[in-house]
Symmetry: C2
Subunit: 407 residues, 2 copies
């Protein structure tokens, strides 16, 4: 297994991007990544496009984005894993390089969610559970699933709606400093509490928005990476797991009683094992994290699923503001899905973009000094969920090369 | 790079499969592959699902198929490359194993095309070119693109409609012997010639059908493969290329004047290079081929794009019946897309299923003695196209392990 590094990153402005076609939006991120790595599109040997698809009228987004970015005739494909789509694309790109098949891969995450030509696709998120059983029979939709997680957590650990609001406040706070974020205004606990219910106890300000956006990463083999950059960010571990599509089977293994995501626990343990990090108290090995906060409750569960703290202790992290910068483990210093935005296919690469900038200590140039984590351990983790734990991808990044043979 | 072998293969009945849901259809192939390898679902370490998606009401086919096949909580993802979808999935699975990330991967191709819930998806194939430019402005659809290829070939090399009909006759002949094929009746040149025009000069019987179906492959690392089977079929080369979505740019590089697919030539050369096969007269290195005959003209172009013969000489192969079994290079002995059927996401894995059976000299048990190629060189090639050359994936299989370090 060859070691693989991220040698270039780019990120579009997130938000309503009616100004660009999907291929132009992809180029906004890809061009920045190429510039960051001082490479040209012709240097790319493969293009992996994360795009959940169906939102755009273009049926073959990987082709038109590759073409617009100038990588033809190099091979390409589209990868999909619901909202974890571009973390899956990173896993593909990582293995294309780690195997020795190619040396340089452009990994593009891109989604345009505001111009679906297609009524069924507008239901897409609602259907992204177990369609025939839960959607058709019970009318379960996405906020409903996460509302169940929230009520379970309330019952078990005394979570209050105001605690969830604090997570939204934090993420809007950091988004307000990130010029690439969709939402740029600070909010207060009152803003959240006064917003309308979407699915009790989740209110509008507990939910992430629909977003257009893109983020790009260039992955390189060790020998090549060292020629390109003095600050390669190594991929030290990738964990991937799949969760049942059927709510009634969710508690089969880990007995989380619906206040955590089994798949995320599996993926975290796998990624940590590969990276040589212990699961219990994982936070002590890490400087910063990006977690999948599609709803505020999802961020809270992620703290525990990632082993930052024990079950029920995530609430304490929120109340003590331990996931602000300077706390035990700073989380979503770019604003997260909640406020930076959540363009499904671009979210994974966007997380890794932010963490790469953090590890290189360049994030301050984007989000200001207050949002640059202190880098002591040289490690960061991205936690990207598809569906309601149907997919989980956890990626560990490091300034240190993987231990030989383990990477 | 670790060597990778196919150690188990399975294939569903192709056709109108209203009798099964998509996950049940996936299991029809996966269960056969697991049985073939004497493995259980729990042995799988990752699942890569090729599914072009959108045809089924299920938004997350990789999750529900993985769950039904019993592989949870192992990681999974969906891969898409239009009609080359499951060849791209094989490329992903191959690299997951070659890198050392995992040892055993279930690669599933599956598609249900007869129950799209979605009017836009019924247009999907029509849109699978350059949507905004060619579909919207000129009304180009899929048969139209391939009709242009046919007229170009007619103009350059004296191709007649009857020659194309001969390709359909061959593929229906072999499909009639394949119990898993969609079409089971022999046809004559007259059948084709008397069928109605779809896009001149292509008639109904020059076109492949819409199909429901699945095919599964289990890929294993060398050490593991040798414990599982005495007849591993090695992946010796994978070529992948991307073609422009814009017709007017198609002749930029190789000057094929629209009677070949540039991307297929690139992909073939890459796969052959990896496998140590020379491109010119490649047929002499190979026992059997599966090529992408979505239209009869596509098979003819494939002969030349794969280097089986020079430009314009494919026609001679047709007229001399050199692509029947016993000829220079037997092609589509399972009936091809044309008559076996073309369930988009399952076509690549279906090709590799047939070729694996051929190389193991077990295909006769399926399609009869007449359809079992003579295996002398121990090598076969699969040629899988997405869109109209937007994607090209070429895979070389062999009874011999790749040369050390080249594999």
């Amino acid at each position: 297994m060859r070691d693989v590094a991220i040698v270039g990153v780019g990120h579009s402005k997130f938000g309503n991007r009616f100004d660009l076609r999907i291929d132009e939006l992809a180029w906004e991120a890809a061009s920045e990544a190429l510039k960051d790595a001082s490479l040209s599109a012709k240097d790319m040997e493969f293009v992996v496009v994360g795009c959940s698809g169906g939102w755009s009228a273009e049926s073959l987004p990987a082709v038109i984005c590759s073409e617009y970015c100038g990588t033809l005739p190099k091979g390409s494909m589209r990868v999909e894993a619901a909202c974890a789509t571009s973390s899956a694309a990173v896993a593909v790109a990582y293995n294309l390089v780690a195997s020795g098949y190619v040396d340089l891969v452009l990994t593009l995450g891109v989604e345009k969610m505001h111009e679906s030509p297609n009524p069924v696709q507008i239901e897409f998120i609602g259907r992204a559970g177990n369609y025939f059983w839960e959607f058709e029979n019970f009318g379960m939709t996405f906020p409903g699933y996460y509302a169940l997680h929230a009520t379970s957590y309330m019952w078990k650990h005394g979570l209050k709606e105001e605690d969830l609001a604090e997570i939204a406040v934090k993420n809007h706070h950091y988004a307000s400093k990130n010029p690439k974020a969709q939402f740029t205004k600070e909010i207060s606990v009152e803003t959240v509490m006064q917003s309308r219910y979407v699915a009790w106890p989740l209110k509008l300000f507990d939910c992430c928005p629909l977003t257009d956006g893109s983020a790009a990463l260039i992955l390189a083999a060790e020998d090549v990476a060292k020629k390109i950059t003095d600050t390669p960010v190594w991929i030290n571990g990738i964990g991937a797991a799949t969760g049942t599509g059927n709510l009634s089977r969710r508690d089969m293994h880990l007995k989380l009683e619906y206040s955590g995501l089994e798949s995320a626990v599996y993926a975290a343990k796998q990624a940590y094992k590969q990276a040589g990090i212990t699961y219990n108290n994982a936070a002590k090995h890490l400087d910063v994290a990006s977690v999948h906060d599609c709803f505020t409750i999802a961020e809270l569960m992620a703290y525990e699923d990632l082993g930052f703290c024990g079950r029920g202790e995530g609430l304490k992290l929120v109340r003590e503001k331990q996931t602000y910068n300077g706390g035990l483990i700073p989380v979503n210093l770019d604003g997260g899905l909640k406020a930076k935005g959540h363009p499904i296919g671009a979210t994974g690469t966007s997380m890794i973009y932010s963490l790469t900038k953090q590890l290189r200590q360049e994030y301050g140039k984007i989000g200001g000094k207050e949002a640059q984590a202190t880098i002591r351990k040289g490690r960061a983790v991205a936690h990207n969920i598809g569906g309601t734990g149907h997919y989980a991808y956890v990626t560990v990044l490091s300034l240190e090369k993987p231990q030989s043979g383990s990477g």
